[in-house]
Amino acid sequence: MQQATTQSGIIDTSYREAVREAIRDAIKRDERVFLMGEDIGRYGGCYAVTKGLLAELGPERIRDTPLSESGFTGAGIGAAMAGMRPIVELMTVNFSLLALDQILNTAATVRHMSGNQCGVPLVIRMATGAGRQLAAQHSHSLEGWYAHIPGLKVLTPATLEDARGMLWTALEDPDPVLIFENVMLYNMTGKLATDAGPVGIDKAAVRRTGRDISLITYGGSLWKTIEAATALAAQGIEAEVIDLRSLRPLDDATIMTSVTKTRRAVIVDEGWRSGSLAAEVGMRIVEQAFWALDAPIGRVCSEEVPIPYPSHLESAAIPQTPKIVAAVKAALGRP
């Protein structure tokens, strides 16, 4: 029976293992693919994503680098231009700023600068987000900044399927793709089909349907948003939850279809509010779906402070379920 087959093909796994499986699969599938970054080999990765891969795949494919983000990101760009399909791992988005010149001025512009003679088929993975008490230099969510840059694609896998499936699709892209893995998701466990494979990266996903309001989010905030939607359902408010999946390009069609249906929107974004991706999404809604709106668009973003170290302050600084619930009620004019 079909169902029995499907049942037997499901495993319990974690987000971390799904990312690792995606790397292993890509390296085995394509001889041009290799991974490089700080402490990814002998140490197994600062979030243990690559644990065991050095022994299994060898030092040619799993390469420890010096502590020089600009240097090894540049090396990855050069390798990509020369025909390889490198995956560069940066420990966190905060550290990626050391490589910003390579990412913005080189990776994102080479196709343009070379008159389309060559591109940079490079994938850069990095951790993002707060919640692990790593303080103000390791905890920020700057993916919205990268979504500002033409020439890049920016992905934010939030589910096991996307953690497993986005990497290969990204590697097939002829241009640079950045993948942001929220640090709070690595330990998330769940079921995944054993034959889970590549997924599309150009569409947002409706994770929960509802008629009263559209909650638009991505990455680590997805699960808090779904929790908020569940709490709201108990009070008779049916929220639709959209997982953007790709921050650049944005899937306007899915957003507008939802907002046109619900006529209200709240955007949940772990980035800071000012100049945020949430601002961009909100403005697109105003541009494209103004006449469908029934209430001002709401936003739940991080407080405009460096992410604090103490656990209670860190938690208070970023979007949380009660804040999302409150924003929804404000948009609906409910007490």
Binding site: R263, D294, A295, L332
Partner: protein, 399 residues
């Protein structure tokens, strides 16, 4: 700090229910802005502020019924107006006859440069874009819709509900805020007081309005229906101009003395289907061009029948005009609406044999009546006043 209080909107009003705030703390308001909607026996009234400044605090929540004079909100005056500055005070606290709201004393209130954040002249009800578009597509009058969204905004669902009502049995189409029973009680109280306190005298005068009719026929022939003028507008303009020349008929009788009014605000008697009557003010009717007057009268009639009258329109009339137009009877003798001192009635236009230059010919004639307060004026003055109206109607192009 100035208290914005529950105004007295009629001699017999003792309390009102705050229906809706149209401002929130922090909003800047200027003189004449509509800040709240209040439910009274006359229906829902939009209340304007006469105090420019910033809303400091809301003291009374919607759906509360409070006595006249109760502070509803605190307004921080522009610059540093002293708390309770004279002249800035809202209408009187006791249920005394309706006062024309007292403007702030010019000497005390330096005019601050207009702030860029001042709300628009007409503070509009909040309507969501989706609701606005649906209302436009389906021809729904948004003034008839009650908002349920954030800050009382009208939402898509509210307009949908209204659409449902529009196809529902007709008796439900009456505006939600027009309580005819309460209105009848208010009329009863005002008319009873008028007949008890005011010694009326009555005059009538027949006026040949053939010139008016011919002039209107010519004027309207070239105009689309939206811009056509009714003879009632001529009547109001003539009455307003005459009142300017005969101030004894334009003002209020209060505290045993007559206070002539500075401006001429004509109360236009408007019948409401099902048995209601209101006479809200057409402000500065003597200053308006005929076209302006007509268009404002049309708006006033429409809003009154929809139950959306503004507070100043309720308390401001200085002289009432009741005009029957083309239907009804030849003459009506009105009862003065206190504390006003006169009411003018225009009967319907009738064709009559008339002597012109020694020969009999057919003319269109209207009987104009005056009911006036004998404490303030005498029949002789009344006769001159009526004659002046008749004269003005002979030259409609000059109105």
């Amino acid at each position: 700090m100035v208290e914005f209080r529950m105004p007295s909107l009629g001699s017999d009003m003792e309390a009102g229910t705050l229906v809706e705030w149209l401002v929130k703390p922090g909003d800047l308001v200027k003189r004449g802005d509509i800040v709240a909607v209040i439910e009274t026996q006359k229906g829902a009234i939009e209340i304007e502020t006469f105090q420019p400044g910033q809303i400091e605090q809301i003291l009374v929540n919607p759906h509360s019924k409070v006595p006249v004079g109760t502070p509803l909100a605190l307004i921080r005056a522009e610059r540093e107006a002293k708390p309770g500055a004279p002249g800035a005070a809202p209408p009187p606290t006791a249920p005394t006859p309706p006062a024309a709201p007292v403007p702030p004393s010019p000497a005390r209130a330096p005019v601050a440069p207009p702030s860029p954040r001042v709300l628009g002249a007409a503070v509009r009800a909040r309507v969501s874009p989706a609701a606005r578009r649906l209302a436009e597509e389906r021809g729904i009058d948004l003034s008839m819709v009650t908002g349920s969204g954030p800050a009382g905004a009208i939402t898509y669902a509210d307009v949908e509900r209204r659409l449902g009502e529009a196809v529902a049995p007709p008796e439900r189409k009456r505006p939600l805020w027009l309580d005819l029973d309460a209105m009848r009680t208010a009329i009863a109280a005002a008319m009873e007081r008028s007949k008890r306190e005011i010694p009326h005298y009555y005059l009538e005068h027949q006026v040949d309005v053939t010139a008016c009719e011919q002039w209107l026929t010519q004027k309207n022939a070239m105009l689309p229906p939206d811009n056509r003028v009714l003879i009632g507008a001529l009547a109001i303009k003539a009455a307003a101009l005459a009142a300017r020349r005969f101030p004894a008929f334009n003002g209020f009788y209060r505290d045993n003395k007559f206070e002539p009014a500075q401006a001429v605000h004509i109360g236009v008697a408007i019948a409401i289907r099902g048995g209601g009557l209101a006479a809200p003010a057409l402000h500065d009717a003597d200053q308006l061009s005929l076209d302006e007057l007509m268009s404002q009268m049309r708006d006033l009639v429409q809003r009154t029948r929809a139950g959306r009258i503004r507070s100043s329109e309720i308390s401001d009339p200085t002289l009432t005009v009741s005009s029957l137009g083309t239907r009804g009877v030849e003459a009506l003798y009105g009862i003065i609406y206190p504390p006003q001192v006169a009411i003018i009635g225009f009967g319907k236009t009738v064709a009559r044999p008339w002597v012109i230059d020694g020969a009999i010919g057919p003319r269109s004639v209207i009987t104009v009546t005056l009911s006036a307060d004998h404490r303030v004026s005498d029949g002789h003055a009344g006769a001159l006043f009526l004659a002046e109206i008749g004269k003005l109607l002979q030259e409609p192009s000059k109105l």
